[in-house]
Symmetry: C2
Subunit: 438 residues, 2 copies
Amino acid sequence: MASKISLNIGMFGCGTVGGGVFELLHNPKKISHLRAIGVDAVISKICVQNVAKKRDLQFLSEQKTRFTSSYADILEDSSINCIIELMGGVTDAKHVVFEAIKKGKHVITANKALVANFMPEIVKLLEENPSVRFGYEASVCGGIPIIHTLQNAYSGDEITEIAGIMNGTTNYMLSKMEHEGIAYDAVLKEAQDLGYAEANPSADVDGFDVQSKIAILAKLGFGGVVKPDQIPTVGISRISTVDFEYAKMMDSTIKLLGVAKLLKPGNAETQTPPEVAVYVSPVVVPRSNVIANIGGATNLVNVRSSNLANSAYVGQGAGRFPTANSVVNDVIQLARGEAPFDPFKSSRAVTLQPDFEAHFFVRIKITDGVGIIRAIGQHAEAANVSIYSILQSPIVDRKNVEFVVTTDLTTLSRVRQMCQNIIKLDFVQEEPLFIPIL
Amino acid sequence: MASKISLNIGMFGCGTVGGGVFELLHNPKKISHLRAIGVDAVISKICVQNVAKKRDLQFLSEQKTRFTSSYADILEDSSINCIIELMGGVTDAKHVVFEAIKKGKHVITANKALVANFMPEIVKLLEENPSVRFGYEASVCGGIPIIHTLQNAYSGDEITEIAGIMNGTTNYMLSKMEHEGIAYDAVLKEAQDLGYAEANPSADVDGFDVQSKIAILAKLGFGGVVKPDQIPTVGISRISTVDFEYAKMMDSTIKLLGVAKLLKPGNAETQTPPEVAVYVSPVVVPRSNVIANIGGATNLVNVRSSNLANSAYVGQGAGRFPTANSVVNDVIQLARGEAPFDPFKSSRAVTLQPDFEAHFFVRIKITDGVGIIRAIGQHAEAANVSIYSILQSPIVDRKNVEFVVTTDLTTLSRVRQMCQNIIKLDFVQEEPLFIPIL
C-alpha cells in the first residue's frame, strides 16, 4: 500500500541534535536495522556556518557525506529529496524550509518557533505542494512522541484539553525550589552553571518556549491556528519559595504549564467555531495529580478527550538522543511511506478566548496593619470574585507579610481586576501574584 | 504516497466495545469528520450469536448494516475487505481471523489472548498474504496507544525495559486495599458487585490478563515471540493489607506489574540472541516512582530505551469508548493507507531467561519463638541470599506474627530456594510471599 522512498538527505545545522541524528542514521548497526524495516536514508550533505570546524561526528565517511556552508548547495541539488532543519531561529531556517517545500523536498524540522509562528504559511505551501511531507515531531517535547500521537490516536475522538509540563529547565528549577527551598535567583544561577539555562534565560523562564509548544499542540488538538503572541503567557520569575510553602498547605505544588482548553465546542450548522482558551502560566497542582509528581527535566503532556477520558505522555523533553530519536522517527515514517498527508490535521477557525475560568491562588505582599482582610474582601467583592480561603503563615516580619487568598471559581479577567484594585491600597507593597489552581 | 482504501467492514461481536465502535463509525457527525480526514468506512454486516436480540445501537440504519449469525456470511462475502473481531476467546475468534487473512481481508482485533497465543501463526499468515494489514491496538491497555507507539516511536532506538500496570481491575483492588485497609476478599467482592471483576476473577487476579499483554509488548519491544504460558506469573490473591503496611514503612506501595526486561543484548556476529526476562508479579514500588501514583482503573506503561531514557504512557485501560477508540484508530490508519506492513516488527529469536535479578520483599508468617531470625538468616545464607533489612511491626498476637525481610540484589531462583528452605522450619506457618522491589 504505502510506497517506500529512498531518502537522500541534506541536513542544515550540526550541533548537539544534528550529531545525534547523524549517529542514529549512519551507525552501521543502525543502518542494517533500518534497512530491515524498509528504511533507506543517507545524509549526503550537511550545511554548517563553518566548514573548517572540527566536529566530533561518529561514523562520518567523507565519500558519503559532504559539508557545505551554502544553502543553495542543498536546496538546488535535485538529487536531495529531503531536508532536516536543525538550525533554529526563524529567519534563515524559514528560508531553507520554505524553499525546500517549493522545490518538492520533504522537510523534517525540530524548530518549534518556526512551526508555531508560520503555521498558516507552512500549511498553505504544503497544499500547493501536495507531494511534500512535513515532519516536526522533534519540535515539541523532544523524547515524547506527542505530535504523532495527536496526529493519530485522536482522529476519531474529540480533544477537550491539552496541558503539560513542556520545559525541562523551568521544571528543574521549580523542583529545586520546592524540595531544597532554594531562592529563585540562586536556582537560576545553578541551572545556568549546569548548562540547563541560557545566559539569557528569558525563552525558558518567561514561558516563550512553552508558548510555541502549546500553540503547536493547540493546532493539532483543536484544528485552529493560535498565534503564539496572542497566548497569555506568564513565566516563573515571580515564583518564590514562599509560594511553595503555601502550595504545600494546600497539599499541592507549582508547575509551569502550557494549557489549551476547549471552552465551547463549535457548531457546524451555524458555522460557529469552537472557543478555546490557551495560556502559559505557573499553576498550583494538587499532589494527587500525576503532573505534580513529574520532577526535574522530565516533560509530561496530559490530554483529555471524550473517548479516552484522560491520557498522559511522559518522557525526556530535550537532550541529544531523545530529540534526535524524534527526528529519526520522522525519517523512518517518511521513508516507509507512512508519513501523514495532513501533518497539521484539519484546518478550521477557532475563537481564542482570552479569558478562562479557574480557581486562583493570589499571593499578596503587605505591611501588616488593621482592616486588611476587610479591605481585600471589599476589592474582591467589587471585582465580583468570591474568596474561598485565606492562608497565612505565622508572621515573622510585620513589615513584610505575604499571605495567600484562594478564590472560588472565577475568571482570569475578574482576578486581574481584583489585583489591579488591591495594588492601589496603601499597605500593599507590590502587584499581587495570581496563578490558576488546577 | 499512501493509497487510501474504502473499507467495507464485517464485525464479529457486538457487545460493549462493538457498540462503541459502531457509534464512532456511524454517527453522522463522526462520518463527516472521518470523510474530511480521508476515511471511508462502513460496517455492513455484524455477526452475533442471537440475531433476534434487541440491541441498543445508536445510528443503526437497516439499509446499511445487516445482522447475521453465520461466520461464512462475512468470510465468504468478497465485497467485505476488512473484519473487526471483538468476540474474544481463542477458538471461534481464531477461525474467523485466520480465514479472513487467508481470504485477503484486513483484520482489526481487540483480542489479546488470540494475538498473544498465536503470534507465530499470525505472523506467518501475514507473510503469506502480504497485502493484508493487521491492527491490534485495542488488545493491550484499551485507551493507551501503546501498540502504535511501540511500532513507531522506537524504530531507531533500543528498548531495554517495558513495565506497566496493565490491569485496571487489580489496580482498583490494590488501591482500595492500600487506602482503605480493606481485606482482599472484601475488596474482590466489591469489585465483583461493581462489575469490575468477573464472577470467576481468575484472569484478572491471577495475572493471566497481564500475561497476554506483556507477551505482546515483549514481541514489539524485543522482536522475539514469548509464549504466555512460559511467563512466570504471580497474581494478587496472596497480597494482604499487612503487605501494604510494610510497603508503607519502605515509603512504597504494591502494584501488579507486567515486566519485560532486556538482560543482555544480542550479538549479530555470533548470532547470539538477546536475553530477556518477562514476568508478571505484584511489585513493591517506591512512592517517588510515577507508577506508584497511578490509582484506580488507570493503566500505565513505562518504556526504557537507549535514546529516550524513560517514557511513560498513562490512560484508561478498558471501557467502551477507550477501547472502541483504539479499534477506530486502526480503522483510520488502515483506510488512510498508513497501516504498517510489519505490525509485529522484526522477527528474531530471543532467549527467555526464567531468572532475573532484583531486590525482594519476603513476608514470612510464623508462630513467635526464639532463634527465629538466626534460623531465617541461616537459610538465606544457604541459598546465597544477603538480607538487607528486617521489618517488624509491634507484635499483637504471638501465635500469628508476620514480618518482612528485604534482600540485597539477588535472583528470583535464589529467593525461591530460600523460601523453600524456610517453609520447612517448624515455626513457619505457610510458604513465604516473595515479590520483587522496583
